[in-house]
Symmetry: C2
Subunit: 244 residues, 2 copies
Amino acid sequence: MVARPEKGQEKGMPQYRRLYEVLRRHINEGVYNEGDLLPSENELCSVYGLTRPTVRQALSELVSDGYISKQQGRGSIVNKLPQGIGILSVSGTTSALKNKNLKTRIIVKPAMRPWPEGFMFRLSDLELESGCIYMTRLRLLDDEPIFYDISFIPAINLPRFTSRSYENRSLFEILRREYQVEIKGGEQRIRAIKADDELCSWLRIRPGDPVLHMERKMVTNRPDLKVYSSIYCNTRFHSIYGTF
Amino acid sequence: MVARPEKGQEKGMPQYRRLYEVLRRHINEGVYNEGDLLPSENELCSVYGLTRPTVRQALSELVSDGYISKQQGRGSIVNKLPQGIGILSVSGTTSALKNKNLKTRIIVKPAMRPWPEGFMFRLSDLELESGCIYMTRLRLLDDEPIFYDISFIPAINLPRFTSRSYENRSLFEILRREYQVEIKGGEQRIRAIKADDELCSWLRIRPGDPVLHMERKMVTNRPDLKVYSSIYCNTRFHSIYGTF
DNA sequence: ACAAACAACTTGTATATACAAGCATGTATA
DNA sequence: TATACATGCTTGTATATACAAGTTGTTTGT
């Protein structure tokens, strides 16, 4: 087993990543259910033609993303899939929602803007010079507005970004598919605030109602490119769910 | 972030964990500052007498705990230490706060109770039979109440638990030191709610003010033992900070 | 029937090695 | 001078192997 076969390479992904994607899809699609044991590491090795360290790397990412737990001597146990809104997990909000009717509506189409004064996170010089792509979206669950979010993306090497269609597509998905940008992690601040008039109109709530506000800074596989968003969430009927 | 043994027990630890602890302490103590590069993996190998996979395991835990970032071709970069309230990390709220004056006041001392009707998480039969240890605490930052939290712990093999002193000690710390119980992760639901009268009196806010509510279920190294808590947080002056 | 011992699995830790890919800094060339 | 390239560093990916440690089921001895 010398060089990797160049043809069947899905997107040039490393092998551990490919196994990760396969197993994650199987879990999401119900091939494995809550409490099931995944095939043992050695089985995965022989099935996929990998060695144990490689398989273990795929599994350890599944662990840190909350899909499985491992127990020494027993195996890899499939976790219950998140039932709430998995926005605390990086893997993308849409994937965790399965059967729910999640729609995304663009309020302000992606467009270049200067960065706001007193931005929520500190920006690098490169980011400041490049300007930012600004967009706001409303996300609805069963036709009820849940998220109002404002995204800020530094306009660094993202050709034709402002002319794409974002309706009902995850922003992260577009970044990954069209620009090979993957979210790798980030930081966030969360607080509860009172809704102002603008929020009320978007989220269809009353002034003074409590709203969850998240400010996030996400780092990607491109060291210069970070994605910022400010998310307002009506948690009256849905709560934000996450694992850690 | 995952709780890890304190530095007293650096004997039985695996080597990668020992290196993790050393580097983490160095970062916390300012031996390395924000933006600094850690020694390269090969340097760490020769200094600590380890091989690269072992060193990489230590580093990868530092990455997933948010202490460093890595960049191919450059090195391991020390991150800015969290400045907010790191309660989204399990490692215990106290550790991330260091220089702030965080006090814990017990409102209801740990005592046995039946589980509440309609508990926030589904309980196993064993948990239901065993009954629960109930306690409530108030946590103050610079003498201002920030957290009001209610903890539920199944009374499974935790002798003398209700007779210990918890003032100004992390609940997790006691579980770890006295019972060898380590928090390994968990899940949580977060929402913004309106403060009711009871919350107002504890958190010194006005009725109707927005409050952050977190419901968490934490799993431990003891498969049967889970810890539940319901946390109310006044985010008027402090926001909840976390990495992912 | 029961309990201890064992065997056969599982994941956890660790070594040793190799090459690929990305970054920084030099030096040689245009 | 400025661009191109070469070099030597960094981390990323992957193989191959070995033994430790924990769990589970079976076998064996009493």
